[in-house]
C-alpha cells in the first residue's frame, strides 16, 4: 500500500507540475460554456454579423436546459476527450521509450500499483475537468434558460464520470500495450470510432458504454428506460475492470521495452 502511495504521489506531482490540473479543466470549462451562450445569443450574433438578406426570418428552437447540457457533453465527447486522451496516452509508453521507467521498473514494485496510480491520476484530472465543464455549462444554462433538478443533474454527472473511467482505462491499456503512436491510434479508434459506430447503427442495440453520456442526459429529461441504463452501466464497469487487468498484464509483459 505504501508503494502505491509513493507512486501516486509521483504521478500527482507530474500532473500538477505540468499544469494538467489547470489547462485540461480550462478546456472543458470553455467548451462547457460555449453552447448555452452561443445558442442564447444566436439572434444577436446573426444580427451583428449582418449580411442577412432583407426579410430573412428564422425561428430558433425552444431549448430546455437538458438540450444545452447535451450540447455541452457533445463538445466534451470530441474536443474534451481528445485533449484528455492525448495528454495521457503516452504516460506508460513514453516513459518506457525515453528510459524514465527503467529506474522504477528495476525496483521491487508491483505493476498493478504503478498502473493504478496512473489510472487514479488520469481519472482525477478527468473528474476535475468534467466538473469544470459541467459547472460552466450548467451555470450559464441556469442564468439564461432555467434550472435543473439537482439530483438528476448529479446523476447525469456521475454517469458521465463512469464513461470517463472507461475512457481512462482504454487509454492506459493502449499505452501499456503499445508504443505511443499505435496507442494513440488505438485509443482514438476505440473511443471516437465507437461513438461514430454507435451514432450510425446504434439504434439496433440499447446496451453500450458509448451510449452512457446520452443516457445521463436522458435521466434529466425523464425519458430513460432504466433497465437499459443499468445494463449499460454494468457492462461499462465490467469492461473497464477487464481493461485494467489486461493493462496491468501488458505493462508487466512490456517492461523489457524500457530503454536502458
Amino acid at each position: 500500500m505504501s508503494e502505491f502511495n509513493v507512486l501516486l504521489q509521483k504521478e500527482f506531482r507530474e500532473a500538477w507540475r505540468s499544469w494538467k490540473f489547470l489547462w485540461i479543466p480550462l478546456v472543458f470549462a470553455l467548451f462547457g460554456m460555449s453552447d448555452p451562450l452561443t445558442n442564447y445569443y444566436m439572434m444577436d450574433i446573426l444580427n451583428a454579423v449582418g449580411n442577412l438578406p432583407e426579410g430573412f426570418d428564422i425561428t430558433m428552437p425552444n431549448l430546455v436546459p437538458a438540450d444545452l447540457l447535451q450540447a455541452s457533453i457533445g463538445q466534451f465527447q470530441l474536443i474534451g476527450l481528445l485533449v484528455l486522451i492525448a495528454s495521457f496516452v503516452g504516460s506508460i509508453s513514453k516513459e518506457r521509450a525515453n528510459g524514465m521507467a527503467t529506474l522504477l521498473y528495476i525496483r521491487p514494485i508491483s505493476f498493478a500499483s504503478y498502473f493504478m496510480s496512473k489510472y487514479v491520476v488520469m481519472s482525477a484530472v478527468g473528474l476535475v475537468s468534467i466538473a469544470a465543464g459541467f459547472t460552466a455549462s450548467v451555470y450559464y444554462t441556469f442564468i439564461l434558460y432555467g434550472k435543473f433538478e439537482v439530483t438528476m443533474l448529479l446523476a447525469a454527472f456521475a454517469t458521465y464520470f463512469v464513461w470517463l473511467l472507461f475512457v481512462s482505462a482504454i487509454t492506459l491499456l493502449m499505452s501499456a500495450a503499445f508504443k505511443t503512436g499505435v496507442a494513440t491510434a488505438g485509443a482514438f479508434i476505440i473511443i471516437f470510432g465507437g461513438q461514430i459506430v454507435d451514432a450510425i447503427v446504434g439504434v439496433f442495440w440499447t446496451v453500450s458504454p458509448w451510449k452512457l453520456p446520452v443516457y445521463g442526459v436522458q435521466l434529466i429529461r425523464g425519458t430513460m428506460e432504466m433497465p437499459d441504463y443499468w445494463w449499460s452501466m454494468a457492462l461499462t464497469v465490467v469492461l473497464l475492470l477487464i481493461f485494467i487487468v489486461i493493462g496491468i498484464y501488458a505493462m508487466k509483459k512490456n517492461a523489457a521495452m524500457a530503454k536502458i
Binding site: K10, L103, R107, P108
Partner: protein, 297 residues
C-alpha cells in the same frame, strides 16, 4: 569468501542473433568485478538480465536470499529521471520503492545526496542538472537502499576527467560496503578498482579471472634494456637471437619460454662490452591484454 551471485548458462537470443551466449560466472561478496569488452559485446544486455528487467532466453541468475530486485542497485549508462522532481524527491521515492521505511527514506536520501556531493542541489529540479550531476544523482539512487549488489553500466564513460575522478573515488569508497559489477571500455578505470575481470566478446565470456591471473596468462615476459647509446643497442640486438628489437637506446627482449627469468639475459649483458643503464621487466597493461583478447580468433 561467500558467493553472492551465481550466473549459469545465461543466454539472450533475439530472433537469429545471439547477443549473450551461455555466460557462467560468480561474484563473491565485497568484490569489484569489471565487465570488459568492445562495443556490442553484450555488456549492457548482460546487466539488464541481472537487473531482472530483461528475461534471459535460457540460463539462470541466482542470488542468495529473496527478491533479486530488492537487493540490487542499478545505474544505467544514460540514466533518465523525472525532470519535474527535485533531487531529494527522486531519491526519496527510489528509496521507498526499494523498501526503505517511510520514516527513514528522506533522511537516507539526504545522506546519499550529500555523499555524492549534491548537498547544494537537494531541492533543485532535476531538469536543471548537468551531466555530471545526473551521474552522481544516478549513483545516489542506486545505493540509497544499501543494495547487496551494485550494477553499473559504463559509470564514468560519459564524464569529463574531473567528473571521472570524482565518481571513481566515490565507487572506491563503496567497495568496502557492497559488491560491485560494472561494465566499462575504459581500461584504466578497470585497472584501478577491480578484483575480477570478465572479458566479453561477441556475447561470449572469453577470459575471466583476477587481474593478476589474467595478467599472468597474457604476460609474455618482456624485458627492456637501456644502453648507453643507440649504436650499442643496435649492435646488441643484431648479435642476439630473435625476439629482440632495438628502438633508440632501448632493446626489447621477449622471452617466450615459461618460467624464464632474467638470469640468462643478465649473463649475456655482463659478458657484452656495452654500457647498460637499466634493465626492466615490463608487465602487460590491461590495454595490451584487451587488444590480444579482442583480436584472438
Amino acid at each position: 569468501m561467500t558467493t553472492l551471485l551465481e550466473v549459469t548458462g545465461l543466454t539472450k537470443r533475439y530472433a537469429e542473433k545471439i547477443v549473450v551466449d551461455a555466460l557462467d560466472f560468480k561474484l563473491d561478496e565485497h568484490t569489484s568485478t569489471a565487465l570488459i569488452g568492445p562495443n556490442g559485446a553484450g555488456k549492457t544486455t548482460t546487466l539488464s538480465m541481472l537487473t531482472g528487467l530483461l528475461k534471459p532466453t535460457t540460463g539462470s541468475v541466482k542470488m542468495s536470499g529473496g527478491d533479486l530486485r530488492a537487493m540490487i542497485g542499478f545505474l544505467p549508462q544514460y540514466p533518465q529521471f523525472q525532470p519535474w522532481l527535485s533531487a531529494l524527491e527522486f531519491v526519496e521515492m527510489a528509496a521507498r520503492l526499494s523498501g526503505v521505511p517511510a520514516k527513514k527514506a528522506r533522511l537516507e536520501a539526504q545522506k546519499m545526496l550529500e555523499f555524492v556531493g549534491l548537498e547544494d542541489a537537494l531541492h533543485k529540479k532535476i531538469a536543471t542538472f548537468s551531466g555530471g550531476m545526473k551521474q552522481r544523482l544516478g549513483i545516489s539512487q542506486a545505493i540509497v537502499h544499501k543494495p547487496k549488489l551494485l550494477l553499473l553500466d559504463e559509470p564514468v564513460s560519459a564524464l569529463d576527467p574531473v567528473g571521472r575522478r570524482e565518481v571513481l573515488d566515490l565507487l572506491k569508497g563503496l567497495q568496502q560496503e557492497t559488491t560491485i559489477l560494472y561494465s566499462t571500455h575504459i581500461l584504466n578505470d578497470a585497472e584501478e578498482m577491480t578484483d575480477q575481470l570478465l572479458f566479453l566478446r561477441d556475447g561470449k565470456l572469453v577470459e575471466q579471472g583476477t587481474l593478476r591471473e589474467v595478467r599472468q596468462r597474457f604476460d609474455e615476459p618482456m624485458y627492456v634494456v637501456e644502453f648507453g647509446s643507440e649504436e650499442e643497442a643496435r649492435l646488441f640486438a643484431d648479435q642476439s637471437e630473435k625476439y629482440t628489437k632495438a628502438a633508440g637506446c632501448y632493446v626489447h627482449v621477449e622471452i617466450h619460454e615459461k618460467n624464464s627469468n632474467m638470469q640468462q639475459l643478465l649473463e649475456r649483458l655482463s659478458a657484452s662490452p656495452y654500457t647498460v643503464r637499466k634493465v626492466e621487466r615490463k608487465t602487460a597493461s590491461l590495454e595490451e591484454i584487451f587488444m590480444k583478447v579482442a583480436k584472438r580468433a
